[in-house]
Symmetry: C2
Subunit: 352 residues, 2 copies
C-alpha cells in the first residue's frame, strides 16, 4: 500500500462514496451506503423532457418516455455491483485515479425492464453486433470531451439479465444512481451499468469510444491494447469486528468467541467457498456459507467463529468460485489499477 496520495486523487475520494465495511451486515445496502463512482458530474435531468432514444440498427427507432418504459414488463433483481478500480490503492507501483481501498461495492434491488425484450420488440437488424449505451454525464477525459458511453456485445445482452432500471430498493432512482433510468448488468463490474441513460444504439462494429478503447482494460504497458474488463473476479470482505480506533481504523476486540461475518461474490461463476485466516494468510479454515437467498447476482453471506486470543492478529478472508478462481494474497498490477481482488487484511488487537 502506497504511502501517500495526491490532492487530485483526494478530490475524487471526497466526491465519490465508498460503502463503510460495517454495511456488509445488510443483505441489501441501504440507499446512501452503496458505493458511488461518478466520472463527471451528476447531471440535472428533468423527467418531463427526458427521453430514451433507441436507434441504429433497429427496425423501428423509438423515443420513449419514462412512463412508457414503466408500463413494460418489469423484474426486480438483487445485484452486487463493484467498481473495477476497487482495491486500487493497494497495488504497487501506485496508480493515479479514484483511490479506492476496498469499499467500492454495494448490493441493491433494482427494478426495471429487461433490455433483451425491449430490443426484440423494436426489431434487431441482422447486421447488429454491439449495443451502445450512452449517458447524459459529460466531461473531459484523456483530452477528449465526451458523454460517458460503454457498449456490450449483442449476444451478451440477448443471453443475459441486463435491465433498464428506474427504481432501487423500492423507490425511484435517486439522482446519484442514474435518475431517471440506468442500465444494470448483473455480474459485470460497475462501469458497464451506464447511469443517466439517454440512448441505446445498435452498431455493426465494436464501439471504440474512450471508455472502451482506453479505460477499463488490463494493460501491462501504456502502449498496448490489453484485454477488456468484463465480469467481477471473486472477492470476499468481512465486517471488521469489534470497535475502531478513530484515525488508524485498527480494531479492538475482547478475548473469547467472536463471530466473523462477511459477504462474497463473483461474476463469472458462483461462489464455491470462503476461507478465513486469523494469522495473516499463513493458515486457512473454511467459513460457513449462508444460502443464496438473494439469488445468483448478489453476494453470499458467510460466517466464521473465531476464538480470539489476546494479542495482535491479522484477519483475512478469501473467496473461491466454481471455476477454481481464488483471491490472491498479492495485488495484481496493471496500468489502470483494475481488478485487484487480493485478500482483505484487518488488523485486530484482542484485549484480555
Amino acid at each position: 500500500m502506497g504511502d501517500a496520495i495526491s490532492v487530485e486523487e483526494l478530490q475524487l475520494a471526497a466526491r465519490n462514496h465508498g460503502m463503510p465495511l460495517e454495511a456488509l451486515r445488510w443483505d441489501v445496502t441501504p440507499i446512501g451506503l452503496h458505493y458511488l463512482l461518478t466520472h463527471y458530474d451528476i447531471p440535472d435531468v428533468s423527467v418531463h423532457s427526458w427521453r430514451l432514444e433507441i436507434g441504429g440498427l433497429v427496425e423501428r427507432s423509438q423515443s420513449l418516455s419514462l412512463d412508457e418504459i414503466r408500463t413494460r414488463p418489469s423484474v426486480e433483481v438483487a445485484v452486487t455491483m463493484e467498481c473495477a478500480g476497487n482495491g486500487r490503492v493497494h497495488v504497487e507501483p501506485h496508480v493515479v485515479s479514484q483511490p479506492w481501498l476496498l469499499e467500492a461495492v454495494g448490493t441493491a434491488r433494482w427494478r426495471g425492464t429487461p433490455v433483451a425484450g425491449l430490443l426484440e420488440d423494436v426489431g434487431i437488424r441482422g447486421d447488429a453486433v454491439e449495443v451502445l449505451f450512452t449517458g447524459l454525464d459529460r466531461g473531459v477525459e484523456g483530452g477528449e470531451e465526451q458523454a460517458y458511453a460503454r457498449s456490450l456485445p449483442l449476444s451478451e445482452i440477448l443471453a443475459g439479465d441486463a435491465i433498464l432500471a428506474y427504481a432501487v430498493n423500492g423507490v425511484p432512482l435517486p439522482p446519484q444512481h442514474g435518475y431517471p433510468l440506468r442500465l444494470v448488468v448483473p455480474g459485470w463490474y460497475g462501469m458497464t451499468s451506464v447511469k443517466w441513460l439517454s440512448s441505446i444504439t445498435l452498431l455493426s462494429e465494436p464501439f471504440d469510444g474512450y471508455q472502451m478503447r482506453h479505460s477499463y482494460r488490463t494493460r501491462q504497458h501504456e502502449d498496448e491494447l490489453g484485454e477488456p474488463i468484463t465480469r467481477m473476479a471473486p472477492r470476499s470482505l468481512m465486517v471488521p469486528p469489534g470497535i475502531p480506533e478513530f484515525m488508524s481504523r485498527s480494531r479492538v476486540v475482547p478475548a473469547g468467541l467472536c463471530e466473523l461475518r462477511g459477504r462474497a461474490w463473483a461474476g463469472e461463476s458462483e461462489i464455491a467457498g470462503v476461507d478465513v485466516s486469523t494469522d495473516g494468510g499463513k493458515t486457512w479454515q473454511e467459513a460457513e456459507l449462508d444460502d443464496d437467498a438473494l439469488g445468483r447476482w448478489a453476494w453470499r453471506a458467510w460466517r466464521f467463529t473465531w476464538d480470539a486470543d489476546p494479542g495482535d492478529h491479522e484477519l483475512c478472508c478469501r473467496a473461491r468460485d466454481g471455476a477454481g478462481n481464488v483471491q490472491p494474497l498479492e495485488a495484481p498490477w496493471n496500468v489502470g489499477g483494475y481488478m485487484n481482488n487480493a485478500v482483505q487484511r484487518v488488523a485486530v488487537t484482542v484485549t484480555e
Copy 2:
C-alpha cells in the same frame, strides 16, 4: 493546499461521504448526497430493543420507545449542516484528520420532537446546567474507549430549535444518519447533532468528555484548552460551472453568458449577502440572493451572471452575515483544522 495525504487519512475519506458540489443545485439534498461523518462505525440498532433513556437531574426519569417519541408533538425543519472540519485540507501546516476539501455539507428536512418540550415534560431540576447527548457509536480516540457524546448548555436547549429527529426528507432515518433517533441542532456544526441517540442526561456541571475537552476546540497549541466550537461561520459555495476534467476536476465552460449558482449559510447571524469574484479574489461583485423559502436554518440560494471571456479564470464566492462576519481569503489555522471558511476557488477554462 498540501501536496499529499496519508493512507490513514484516505481511509477516512473513503468511508465518510462528501456532497459533490453539483448537488448544491437542490434546495434539499437528496438522501445519499448529504455529507456523512461517522467517527466510529455505524451501529447495528434493533428498534424493538432500542430505548431513549432520559435521566440525571430530571424530576421523572424516562425510558422511551420510538413509538412513544413519535406520538409527541412534531415539527419539520430544513437544516443546513456542515462538518466543523470542512476545508481542513486547505489549511497549512497540514492537519491530520478526516481530509475534507469543501464538500462536508448538506441540507435536509428533519422531522422530530423539540428537545425543549420533552425536557420540560419530564421536569428539569433547578441545579441542571447542561444536557448530555450520548450515541450508540463506540470506538477508541485519543487512547480512550468511548461512546460518542456531546453536551449543550441547558439554556441553549431551552431557547433553541433542537429536535430529536426520526425522519429525514419524509422517510425514516437511514442507518447512516442516526437510525432510529438523532439530535439535530440548527445553526451549529454537525458534531453537535449526535446520531444513534441512546441517552439524554441533565448535568450540574459542564461535561468534559473527549469530544468536548479535546476535539472541537480552536487551539493554537496542543497544550492549551482553546475555545469550544459552536455555530457555523459564514460560508458560500458555488456549483462548479461547465463540465469537469475527470482527474483534475478543473472546469471547461463555453464563452458567453454563464449563470453561476450557489448557496450560502451562517449559524450565528443570517446571511446578509454573497459576493462573486471572477479574477481570483482581486475584485468582487454582489450576487443576487433568493428569498429564504427554506427558513432561517437552511442555506440561501444565490445567482450571478458572468460574461465569460476565453482563457483561464479563477472563480470565487464569499458570504457575509448580518453581524459583519465575512469569509477570509486565507485559511485560518488551529490545531484541529476546524472552521476553515476561506473562500472557494474554482479553476475554469473558458473556450471560444
